[in-house]
């Protein structure tokens, strides 16, 4: 088992001022050690500051207190693969062009980046849809495009912000399964944010429960189960219920 720390988040707090000049504290003294090649799940209800924390980790938000350090030196936003909430695809670009974006700005040649994009589109099962616009495909497919785009950056850190939140249950299960498959094929460090307890238990090597106001890390769980995990297995249900109980408490 790898145990090296990949990202170290120490004493991170965040507050902002609203239009009426009232200060709100969102995050209070967050400390997380993300291990290399770990699948870490951040679980929390809506408005618990999960997205804010992700923006801080990925460098999209630089206005905070505390420290975020990477074991291999500093990183800018583009060195981390990000899958955004509600896809954030560029609607005027085709599926192919969306995935290609990531290499385009890294100065990769046309042929090379086309091959890369095709490879990742195939990985997420979207071969044949290269020339569709995002508005022409279903939500599940858009999500795959977003994942392919993030993977195409070939970063060893992936950050996913409620990627499956907008999908129906059936598609969601399927996507979770596929995500794990992809991750197991090519291991990398994943930070996965969700508000769905079952999703957290199904995916996570480790689950951190975010809660309170301002938010802190309330609990940590390490599911001791073989993959692929079964939603109906007694251990699964037991952990699910335990987390659900804590979830109520931190709200």
């Amino acid at each position: 088992m790898e145990n090296r720390t990949k990202i170290s988040i120490s004493h991170v707090s965040k507050s902002f001022e609203d239009k009426k000049q009232v200060r709100h504290q969102v995050l209070d003294d967050i400390n997380i050690e993300v291990k290399e090649n770990e699948f870490l799940v951040l679980l929390g209800a809506g408005k618990s500051g999960k997205s804010v924390l992700l923006d801080i980790i990925t460098g999209l938000d630089t206005d905070y207190e505390g420290k975020v350090e990477f074991s291999d030196g500093s990183r800018s936003t583009k060195d981390i693969g990000i899958v955004f909430q509600k896809y954030a695809l560029f609607p005027w670009k085709t599926v192919m062009e969306n995935v290609e974006m990531n290499q385009k700005f890294r100065g990769m040649g046309k042929q090379e980046r086309k091959e890369k994009a095709e490879k990742y589109l195939k990985l997420v099962g979207l071969s044949g849809f290269e020339n569709h616009y995002p508005n022409q495909i279903s939500g599940g497919m858009k999500q795959r495009v977003a994942i392919a785009r993030a993977f195409a950056g070939e970063s060893d850190i992936m950050v996913m912000d409620e990627p499956f939140g907008a999908l129906d249950a059936q598609t969601r299960y399927q996507m979770e399964e596929e995500l794990l498959k992809i991750w197991e094929e090519a291991k990398r460090t994943v930070i996965f944010v969700t508000n769905n307890i079952e999703e957290a238990v199904y995916l996570g090597d480790r689950i951190l429960l975010l809660g309170g106001s301002p938010s802190t890390i309330a609990k940590e769980y390490v599911p001791d189960m073989e993959r692929p995990r079964k939603y109906t297995h007694p251990d699964f249900l037991e952990l699910r219920n335990r987390i659900a109980g804590d979830f109520e408490l931190v709200l």
Binding site: A88, M101, Y133
Partner: protein, 258 residues
């Protein structure tokens, strides 16, 4: 049975609608035969001015003159308006400085500029083009600006995450994202421009469709006025149809939604 009757009525109503319009015209002809020309007289007039020039120009030439003025002003308005809109949308300081001035000038209808512009530039082509420009530039500035302000913040994050720099963000994200709004602005701009050219030509011109209807008014030739109105209406409708086509072509991702 009732359903069938209903369907019949639905076929008859549009015909009836146009019928009413024609009858109204007829009533006016009978009531004021000295002013109101018959539809036949208008058609004859259109045919007449298509071959016989008025003020050294046949009808097609008058149309082309008006369109030429609109298009050259529109082209200038696009370039200037988009640049100004981008500057205001992208640089908050520039916006804060320029916006109040823009807000003072904006409510003045372009038509109200006509006297001043004529005083400045005389009654030649330049003043007409400038008047159309003033009318055409405002919607483009407004729509470019609001288009840029309304770009989904999520897309900025996404651009950053795929490593786009400032320039790339501008050209690959901000501009395409605001394109639908800019194109909508261009649509408004062109129809405003068409209205302004009429106004300018009506006030002072020797050629153009606006000149035609005023010539009709001055000489009491109502058939000429109505011919002019028909032509103006047809050209306006054509411009609108053309622009709707162009919109589909320019923003394919918008219209192919399911």
């Amino acid at each position: 049975m009732a359903e069938k009757g209903k369907k019949m009525i639905y076929y008859i109503l549009p015909v009836l609608s146009i019928g009413i319009l024609v009858v109204l015209w007829g009533v006016l002809c009978v009531q004021k035969p000295d002013i109101m020309p018959t539809p036949a007289a208008v058609i004859k007039k259109i045919a007449d001015i298509t071959v016989n020039p008025i003020s050294n120009a046949t009808l097609p030439v008058h149309i082309l003159v008006s369109l030429g003025r609109v298009l050259s002003a529109f082209a200038a308005a696009c370039v200037f308006g988009i640049v100004l809109g981008i500057l205001m949308g992208w640089y908050p300081t520039f916006h804060d400085i320029a916006w109040p001035v823009f807000e003072i000038i904006r409510p003045i209808p372009p038509i109200a500029w006509i006297p001043l512009i004529i005083l400045w530039c005389g009654i030649g082509e330049t003043s007409k083009v400038i008047i159309v420009f003033i009318g055409a530039v405002v919607p483009i500035v407004l729509n470019t600006y609001s288009g840029i302000r309304q770009v989904d913040p999520m897309l900025f994050k996404a651009a950053k995450s795929v490593g786009a720099g400032d320039r790339a963000t501008m050209f690959e994200v901000v501009l395409p994202a605001s394109l639908p709004s800019i194109v909508a602005g261009m649509k408004t701009s062109l129809s405003t421009g068409w209205m302004c050219v009429l106004a300018a030509e009506m006030v002072v011109a020797r050629q153009g469709v606006g000149f035609l209807i005023v010539r009709g008014m001055d000489s009491g030739d109502s058939a000429l006025i109505l011919s002019g109105m028909v032509v103006i209406g047809v050209v306006s409708a054509l411009i609108t149809a053309l622009l709707n086509r162009a919109e589909v072509k320019l923003c394919p991702w918008r219209t192919e939604q399911r």
